[in-house]
Structures are given as structure tokens and as C-alpha cells.
Subunit: 422 residues, 2 copies
């Protein structure tokens, strides 16, 4: 089956917001063995939406649109598609009651305009939206309007806000797709996440050993991101499981501890898991990452059980006052130095009485670099009861990438340490 | 002129990475008065790339592709497009020398495969890439291969990594586009960022007052995001400047201090600017936001001059030990309470001797809620020399949205405070 995705919104075409639906929906659909073959974004004018939907219907069995179901004047998807398909719109009493309930529960008057969201194209399935007012809609498309050679196609419209779209997709679209398009052949997509190696090094390590599996039909893909490289294995058909299993063994042998996780696992989730299992605790002392390490770790549910706290000490004075870094160390070596990184980590561990502490001190830029310590210089220290290790890194990127890469490196050092102790 | 954007990459179709090129390039092009009319993403197979490029060329004067120029086996864009356009590929001596220099400077041997990146379709312009090995390429498209009725079209290929793509775009694509497609009519796109109001409230406040300008051709758009609503004004033609100026006056009158900035300005940038101008300083005490407020503020260059530091105190013990919150306050009211928020902010201000301190304490979930204090409950305190104000909010979203919305609210309270003092 062929699936296409259409995101509507002038703000997308003007580059005013990031399109997160593309990744989320493609991911969910791939896991249902419905790899999206094309994703399109157009402005939210009736003409553009109609043209894009019409073209997609000639290619795809299933077309999913996002956005344009709300109450404001630029919400035109529902009307444009109904008109294109020659379907009348009728007010749906159940939908209207749900919208009224939504406002009543929040003790807010219902704006008259919201009533439009209760209009449903004839014959459409309503996909309830408990987190908003506009429901999703699924419409069967007549053969003459859909991909030639097919009986019927389906068109599913979802509201734009992720908080509304995602539950509707999980609770209503997934069962519908499974029923309408049952999977015909096995399909496995697996992503391995590595940290600490460059893309070409990863490729060099695995390409040759995997060659015969690739010849047998395994698809191999790479994706380089700040501080990490993802390796993706895709296989289909009756050999999918065997190919994936064999490739996994080879990947693990070649990349070893450089693989920190699979699929969506993050380094911070691995760390919270390892520390929780071992009932150990962590403290942070962040200078140049400015809270990014703490932010990443606290995105993980359950982080509160293992992260005692973080000192974000941007100035020399705060490094002295909050952590107890010695004035002479700062004066002698400068704030960005192996010695200060070491003291920061040891002080953070001591003050909080945690098992481990990570510290980072560096120059994020754009200003503050010197010939000896250019922008991008950073020291990362990891302190435990037994020892403190400091590494010097060089991440000469823009400020945000610098923070991201440095955070990834600091977390990866702790992960390697924790895994080596297992 | 009509511009289309094609992002290639199987990882996009599998939903394994976020497509950030779409927003970035659409934004840059919109600012050149080249609003992208369609953005497409396809897998990086030769067939998909060819089909998408061929279709775009029938509609657009300029087609920009991203990705697939690298050295790995799934990098097929250059070859597929050259074949489609019937252009031969030749090794370019200058490009090859640059690639060799790139590796020599890094003291790394050049993998043989990288040599493929020196292949250039005949007649193509090379757009140098100082941050990587594969250059961008610009190719003129013959009339019979491009949009009917036009003389020639242009096709620009850019490498996938943002760190490489963005400088090539800024330094080479922008001048090229300006030369090839000089702007014909004035075009103004302006975004106003508001915080603290819902989308329907923003619309209610401005829709009626702006009606006559909309009838005169002003386009009005909304975009709701966690903790903020953006209002977008687009106008074209000889009246663009007048329409924008009049609409701006109305927006400012209707929304007042709820507008925190324009275009890409963030609340954190506004705060760093205001504090810097007034030589004032800030400290943070974060519980449930876990470092997110510090992270956002330290994304702003120059934050080190105004942000003394942040205490990320996740546990009760750390709130006591690092900040000095009284044990009896914690025991009597619980960590998530007005009283603890107040003490956290006052303690953070006292310890760091800063002018202001913000504290947050709440329940991010998914666990930890009670009937009296359900998940989403949060207290935000703002302490200054004169007074401490605490507000209670309710943000019953998922963990990450909770952190984002709470951070936005906390920063907005400080912004409103700083602006009211101007």
C-alpha cells in the first residue's frame, strides 16, 4: 500500500514554525509497515490543499492531512476536501455536543465560530478528539477520485495541534489502518544509536562485515546528528527477522560500547535506568552547557530519584560561592581549565553527597575565545568516590550545537563509566 | 516566481529524524520574497528523487533539493538529477583539491569514496562548502525540462548537514537567487509573538479591529504553540508598507504587553537584553523545570553577564541544603506549595546576591499527583529586593510540554516585571 502525508499551514511555508508532524506520523506509520512514500507541505489556501490532495490521491491508497480543522479564518481543510470530493457537509449532533461539553468543563463560553467544527462531510467517520474541539475525520474516496486500479482510497484529516493529533492517531487511526490495510509481509525497521564516533568511522567499521546481508536485501542507512550517528536497518519479506538478527550481531560486535541504545532511547534515559537499577545518584556542575545537561536528564520520568541537583555556575564568583572552587585555582588556571573542571565535579559530589558528579566548563562563544583557548574548548570531568577523570574536547560549532554536543559527550562519558561497571 | 523545496532522505520517511531544513529554508526564502509554494520529502532512492524533481520542475522556476550529496551508499541525489537532466558528470579539479585540503587540515586520510563528491554535472555552478566535503551545485534547466512558458528554470542541490547547508545558502544561494530572480513587488511578512493568552482570545481581541485591513489585502495568520500564540501579518504590493504599519499600530493597541517580541525574538533574549541594559542580575531555583529555564536563558549570547546561576534542586534535601529552604516549611506545606516557591526564590536571591530570582516547584508527572495537587500543578515565584510574588498555574500536559509551558510562564512573569519598570 502507498501512503502519503500532507501538512497544511502557511506558517510552514513561511518557515515560521517547525513541522514536527512529519517525523511523528512517518514514524508511527512505518511501525505499522506503512512507510510514507511522500510527504508534502502546502499553504492553507483551498486551492493549494485541493491540488495537493488530488495529486496524492492519484498515487496513494491512503492520504493523511494535518491542520486546518480549527475555528479560525485560515482553517479550510475540511471544506476544501469535502467540496473536492463532492460531499455535502452536515452538522453532527454528537460532535456538537462534545464541543459544547469541552467548553462547559472548562467553564468558558463557546465561541459561535467553534460550531463550524461540528460540520462533517457525509459518510465520514468521526475520530473523537478529547483534547480539543475539532475531531479527526476519515473519508472513503470513490474509485474515480483515487489511485487508478484501486477500489477505493481513504483520506484521513487530523487537527494540527500535536497534543490533539497524537491521541487521535493512536486511539483511532491505528486501528482503522490495521483494519483497512492489513499488513502483507513482515517488515522490520531498527535504529541503533551510537555516540562518540564520526559517520565515516561508523561506516568503515560496519560496511564490509554487513556486505553479504545488504546483498541479500538488507537496507542500511546512516544519519549523523550532533554528537551521535544513527545506523538504520530495514528488512522486508520472509527473511526480515533473520536478516535483522544477523545484522544486529555484527553491529554489536563491530561497534560495541559505542552503541548506547536502540530506537528512540536517549543517553539520558539509559543513565536514569542504570542509576535507578543501582540505587546510585548524580549531581551536576554546569558552566558552559548552562543547564542543558540537567534539562535533558529531567526530561526522563523518574529522574528525580537519581538526580540530586545541578549547579549552573556561569560566573567565577558562583563557582567559588556555590561550589567552593578555590580562588587560586581560578586565578592560576582560568575558569576553562582541567583543574577547575576537576574541582567543580569534586565539589558538586561532596556538597550533594552523590555517587557521581559531572562538571563542564568551556567557551560556547560567539565571544570569549583566546588563541590558547579558542571558542569550542571544553573540559568535562566525571567524579566518583574512587577517582576523577577529566577530558578535553574541542567543539567549535555555533553556540546551540556546542551546548548540544558537549551535553552529549558529558552524558556519554557517564554512560560508558556506568556500563563498564556492570 | 514559484519555488519548491525537496528534502530527500529515507530517514525522513521512516520518521527517524526531524526535518529542520523545511523551516529554515522556507524562512530564509520568504525573507527574499520567494515564498515556497510546496515542500516535498521523499526517500533517497533514485526513482523517488527523479520523480519528485521532475514534477516540481513542471510547476516551479526554482527547485532546491537537500541531502544525498555525501559519500555513503545512499547518497544518490547528484547522480539521479544529472541523469534526469541528461548532463554528464566530470571530476572538478578545484572541488577535488578542496576535499583533499579538508582532510589534510584535519590530519585524516581521505577515504577513496569521498572522491565521488568532486563529480560535477556539466555546466553546473559549484557552491563551495567550507564546513564539509560535498559542495552545493546549481544547474540551469533547459526550457523543455522546466515549467512550461518559462525560459529556463534553476535547480540547486544542497548537502544535508545543517552546519554545511546553512553557510552555503547564506553565502552563495542568496546572491544567486537575488541575481536570477530580482524581486518585483514589495513583500512584508511580520510575526508578533505573544505570551499568556489563548489563541481564541488573541483572535477575539484583534479580528474585528483588523477587519478593514484584511479586506484591503492584509493576510492574517495565527499559530498556537506551548505557552504562546504568534500572529502573522503578510502584505504584498504597493500598499504593503502602509498595511503593515497600520496593522502593527492596531495589534500593539489591542494586545499591549502581551506581545513580547517580533520575528524570531525569544522571551529569554528579551530578558537578557533588558537585564543587560539595566546592569541587573538574575538567579534561578528550578525544581520541576529541571534546568530548562537556565538552558533557555544560556542559549542567548551574553547571558553570562546577567545570569549568576541556577540551583536545580530536585529533591527536598537539596532544596534545604543548597538553598536553605526550611525543613518546617517543606513538612508543613509540601515541596509543591506557595510557601516553598517563595523561600526558594528568596533564598536563591540572597545566596547569589542577584537583583531578581525566579523559582518554580510543581508536579511534571507522569507520577506524583494527588487529588489536592494533581499533575500539572506548579508555583512560580519572582523575588526582588522589594517583594516576592507567587503565582499558581495549572499545566496538565505531558512532561516535556509541562516543562516548556512552565518555563515560558516563568520567563514571561520576569519580562512583564522588567518591562513595567521601564
Amino acid at each position: 500500500m502507498i501512503v502519503e502525508l500532507i501538512n497544511t499551514g502557511s506558517e510552514l511555508m513561511l518557515g515560521r514554525v517547525l513541522n514536527t508532524h512529519q517525523q511523528w506520523l512517518c514514524r508511527q506509520l512505518a511501525d505499522l509497515d506503512c512507510v510514507v512514500s511522500r510527504q508534502t507541505a502546502v499553504a492553507d489556501t483551498a486551492k493549494e490543499i485541493e491540488q495537493a490532495v488530488r495529486e496524492s490521491l492519484t498515487r496513494a491508497d491512503l492520504v493523511i492531512t494535518t491542520g486546518g480543522l480549527g475555528p479560525t479564518s485560515d482553517d479550510l481543510t475540511r471544506t476544501a476536501i469535502a467540496r473536492m470530493l463532492g460531499k455535502e457537509m452536515k452538522e453532527d449532533a454528537v460532535v456538537l455536543a462534545q464541543i459544547q461539553k469541552y467548553f462547559a468543563q472548562r467553564n468558558r463560553p463557546m465561541p459561535e465560530r467553534t460550531r463550524e467544527e461540528a460540520l462533517v462531510p457525509e459518510g465520514a467517520l468521526v475520530l473523537p478528539n478529547p483534547n480539543g474541539t475539532a475531531p479527526g475525520l476519515a473519508v472513503e474516496v470513490r474509485p474515480d477520485q483515487s489511485r487508478s486500479g484501486n477500489n477505493v482510497g481513504w483520506l484521513i484529516m487530523l487537527p494540527g495541534p500535536p497534543r490533539e493529533l497524537r491521541p487521535i492517531f493512536a486511539n483511532h487511526v491505528v486501528p482503522l489502518v490495521k483494519r483497512l490495510f492489513p499488513s502483507k509481509e513482515p517488515f522490520i525497521c531498527r535504529t541503533f544509536r551510537t555516540a562518540g564516533l564520526g559517520e565515516s568511522v561508523v561506516q568503515q567499521k560496519i560496511e564490509h562485515p554487513l556486505r553479504s546481508l545488504v546483498e541479500a536485501g538488507l537496507e542500511l542507512g546512516y544519519c549523523a546528528r550532533p554528537g551521535q550517528v544513527d545506523v538504520r536497518l530495514v528488512s522486508r519479506g520472509i527473511n526480515a527477522e533473520k536478516l535483522t538478527a544477523e545484522a544486529t550481531v555484527i553491529l554489536r560486535a563491530q561497534l560495541g560500547a559505542d552503541i548506547y541504545g536502540q530506537e528512540d532511547e536517549t543517553i539520558e534515559a539509559v543513565i536514569v535506568r542504570l542509576l535507578t537499577a543501582r540505587r546510585q545518584t548524580l549531581a551536576l556542575a554546569e558552566s558552559c552547557t548552562g543547564g542543558c545537561i540537567a534539562h535533558r536528564l529531567t526530561n526522563v520520568p523518574g529522574a528525580s530519584a537519581v538526580l540530586f541537583g545541578s549547579f549552573v555556575t556561569y560566573s567565577d564568583e558562583m563557582k567559588r560561592k556555590l561550589l567552593g572552587v578555590r580562588a587560586e585555582t581560578l586565578a592560576l588556571h582560568g575558569a576553562v581549565s582541567e583543574e577547575v573542571a576537576r574541582e567543580m565535579a569534586e565539589d558538586a559530589r561532596r556538597v550533594t553527597e552523590s555517587d557521581y558528579a559531572i562538571s563542564v566548563t568551556g567557551i560556547a562563544g560567539p565571544d570569549g575565545g583566546t588563541p590558547e583557548k579558542p571558542v569550542g574548548t571544553v573540559f568535562i570531568a566525571l567524579a566518583s568516590l574512587r577517582e576523577t577523570r577529566v577530558s578535553k574536547m574541542f567543539n567549535p560549532w555555533d553556540r546551540l550545537t556546542f551546548k548540544e554536543v558537549t551535553t552529549q559527550q558529558a552524558l556519554n562519558q557517564l554512560r560508558l563509566r556506568l556500563e563498564s561497571l556492570l
